[in-house]
């Protein structure tokens, strides 16, 4: 037998397998899934006794509480199901659309990670296992991750109702699971599309931005009544009024009908989910393997510049230039900053809209702006202070430590001034009296975050579990500090 591989034709994996594996046997998709589950289970078991107990107690309490809420809400939801089917369909459809965008946001993010992580692909790709089977298990894993938290919140509600004999909403189980699978398949297809159109270097940035956008749409949908101006809200209600009392027809309502227990839509929704996963696996399986390998093989190119300019300017310029380059070339930086804007600016807008309802809206806006400044400073400082892979180089060189520190702080502040200057200027124009408070609170939040980054560098604590626990404790401390300065800014606004 001769295996011949030619240009442009990636390895035809699986052509050499003597016999097809059974549905559950070694080499099957279920077998791979079982392998992934075993690894995940062992990771969980190894996550440390005390922390695992605390997480278990918190999650367990939340699950019990949500079951109780479902138990209490069962009669009302049951009545909605029986007497106001059209309203239930309408509310259900909007809720499912919101949930789907949330799943999609997480799925794009996870698919991007999968595209840029070699992991065990060397082992899997060089085996006769078809890549579509590997991608199928990856898609299921993405679906599980994307749907884990939302499902953790929703399923106990449905369970609580079932405990009271109210099975009308039990269709939520298969529908939500199907939506996570469709989101995983769609998210992966989008990520692969980006890879084909914008190339590996920009895919990561574009995918993160897109994931943030979908997350924001989901978030917006729950806050629309606060964020949207009154005239738009009126128009939306006007458009929806004729739908009330009329049972809507058409396939777009089928997911909601499936949630309410209609058997045919339920079968169709589940079928679409399976079909989506299988088609994406079949169409993109091989591209997944070779795509990851090509992404990892692409050299990170930098623009060529004059050698003379590179070595001119002395110690501080060299330090500054290095920090500047690393910060600007950070793959997820733009998306992370965008993420903060997307989630906090609408909140500020909503608070501004509440001004005429007697709330202390300037105080709320200042609170959010100070918090956002703290968050963004943390993101910007993470590169120079936590991600410095060559920290030992500077420490062991004759350069003064204060110069190293100054370069890191300066670069962080320059970027922060550009990013944070916009909301502060906007507040200055719209709410002039709040300007001193927002400036003081934001500068304080940024300074504290920088001080935390300087005084608690994580470079040497990242390796083990203890390091990770320390990192999460530091993260919590940072959030508390941001909230603290936000409250300070709000109080200062009221006092001034």
């Amino acid at each position: 037998m001769r295996l011949i591989r030619s240009a442009g034709a990636p390895a035809a994996m699986g052509t050499q397998v003597a016999k097809l594996p059974g549905l559950l046997g070694p080499g099957s998709a279920f077998w791979l899934l079982r392998h992934d589950l075993r690894l995940a289970g062992r990771d969980l078991r190894a996550a440390g006794g005390r922390k695992r107990r605390v997480v278990g107690i918190v999650l367990g309490t939340a699950v019990v509480l949500l079951h109780l809420i479902g138990f209490v809400a069962a009669p009302a939801l049951g009545r909605l199901h029986d007497a106001h089917r059209s309203d239930a369909l309408l509310v259900g459809s909007f809720a499912l659309a919101g949930a789907f965008t949330l799943f999609l946001s997480k799925a794009i993010s996870e698919a991007t990670d999968a595209l840029f992580q070699r992991g065990d692909l060397d082992l899997l790709l060089s085996s006769p296992l078809p890549m579509r089977r590997v991608l199928t298990t990856r898609l299921v894993a993405i679906a599980v991750i994307a749907g884990f938290l939302p499902l953790l919140l929703v399923i106990p509600l449905v369970n609580g109702m079932a405990l009271r004999g109210q099975f009308a909403w039990a269709g939520a189980y298969p529908v939500l699971l199907s939506l996570t699978l469709v989101a995983a398949a769609t998210g992966s297809a989008i990520t692969f599309g980006l890879l084909a159109f914008v190339g590996p270097r920009w895919t990561r940035v574009a995918a993160r931005a897109l994931a943030t956008l979908f997350g924001a749409i989901s978030f917006f949908s729950t806050q629309a009544h606060l964020v949207l101006p009154a005239w738009i809200r009126a128009k939306v209600w006007q458009a929806m009024a004729p739908m009330s009392g009329v049972v809507p027809a058409g396939p777009q309502w089928w997911p909601a009908r499936a949630v309410l227990g209609d058997p045919l839509p339920m079968v169709v929704v589940a079928g679409v989910a399976v079909l989506a996963v299988m088609s994406v696996s079949a169409a993109l399986g091989q591209a997944y393997g070779t795509g990851v390998m090509s992404n990892l093989a692409v050299p990170r190119g930098a623009r060529a510049a004059g050698v003379e300019r590179r070595f001119a300017g002395g110690v501080f310029t060299a330090l500054l230039r290095k920090e500047w380059h690393l910060l600007l070339r950070h793959p997820g930086l733009g998306a992370q900053v965008f993420y903060q804007f997307v989630f906090l600016v609408p909140g500020a807008v909503a608070l501004m809209n509440l001004g005429d309802r007697g709330w202390h809206s300037p105080a709320g806006v200042v609170f959010l702006t100070a918090m956002m400044t703290g968050r963004i400073t943390k993101i910007l400082a993470a590169g120079p202070f936590e991600g410095d892979q060559a920290a030992a180089l500077a420490v062991t060189s004759p350069v003064r430590p204060v110069l190293v520190l100054r370069a890191k702080v300066l670069v962080t502040l320059v970027v922060l001034a550009v990013v944070g200057g916009l909301p502060v200027a906007a507040i200055g124009l719209k709410m002039t009296p709040a300007l001193p408070a927002v400036c003081v609170a934001s500068v304080a939040a940024a300074a504290t975050r920088l001080w935390l980054a300087v005084s608690r560098p994580k470079q040497l604590r990242r390796a083990g579990l203890q390091g990770r626990l320390q990192a999460s404790t530091d993260g919590l401390l940072g959030v508390i500090v941001d909230i603290g300065w936000g409250i300070f800014g709000a109080v200062l606004t009221i006092v001034l």
């Binding site: 050499q16 060397d122 899997l124 070779t290």
Partner: protein
């Protein structure tokens, strides 16, 4: 066993440039070259991990249909930290559809030969680099491949472990298997390889036995290091 014709791969600039390679069954072939010469890219294409831009790769073997032809051992192999060596080999056996009884026997034999049998029940996360490398090698050999492709297989191994691996590879080759490896340790290539290929800037600059390479370089008494430096000195980086 392995024939490569006009192989090309470019990542903006050419990484492998019209490379020809021919390796017979039952030999150890060492692919040498400076950093960035295209060794790993070539091997990754041979294993199907990267699609070539042009050229063809031909792997010939009499039992290739029933028994997959090749195995790949990367320079930094991934082991599942939470699995034991025995569990890892069990997973690899599943990937390659090796019958359970045969897999069990081969796993025991390989782990014993590589000195890992006493550690068969320990999670790989606590293993040294050498132990990880040997576990990955056991995984690569589990399905008894006709062609074993290895990227820097001896890096990180101490003298004893290095000897174990070399003995294992020699034993494989004596049974008609073929080994292709890259290494920066030229002494390893000099002592272990039947034939040596030297590539630079993605092109083959010299190929043959050590004696033939000396002849090509015009240095009859030179070490492989001298020959290598001489042959690659005038190649573009």
């Amino acid at each position: 066993m392995l024939t490569v014709r006009g192989l090309c791969k470019s990542f903006g600039r050419p990484a492998v440039d019209h490379l020809d390679l021919s390796i017979a069954a039952g030999e150890i072939y060492a692919l040498l070259g400076p950093n960035g010469a295209g060794k790993t890219t070539t091997l990754r294409m041979v294993c199907g991990l990267l699609a070539p831009d042009a050229g063809s790769i031909e792997i010939a073997g009499t039992d290739a249909l029933a028994e997959p032809a090749r195995a790949w051992l990367p320079d930094e192999p991934l082991l599942y930290d939470r699995l034991t060596p025995l569990e890892y080999l069990e997973f690899v056996a599943g990937l390659w559809q090796v019958p359970a009884a045969l897999a069990r026997a081969r796993a025991e034999s390989l782990l014993t030969e590589l000195g890992l049998w006493p550690h068969r029940g320990e999670a790989c996360e606590g293993f040294s680099r050498g132990m990880r490398q040997k576990t990955a090698l056991a995984g690569a050999l589990l399905h008894d491949p006709a062609l074993l492709i290895m990227d820097e297989p001896l890096s990180g191994l101490d003298a004893a472990a290095s000897r174990q691996v070399k003995d294992l590879l020699r034993a494989r080759v004596q049974t008609g298997r073929t080994v292709v490896l890259t290494t920066h340790v030229l002494e390893v290539a000099e002592r272990l390889a039947d034939r040596i290929g030297i590539i630079a800037a993605g092109r083959m600059v010299a190929e043959g036995t050590f004696a033939e390479l000396r002849y090509q370089a015009g240095r009859r008494q030179a070490t492989l290091e001298d020959v290598f430096l001489h042959l690659t000195a005038e190649q573009p980086a």
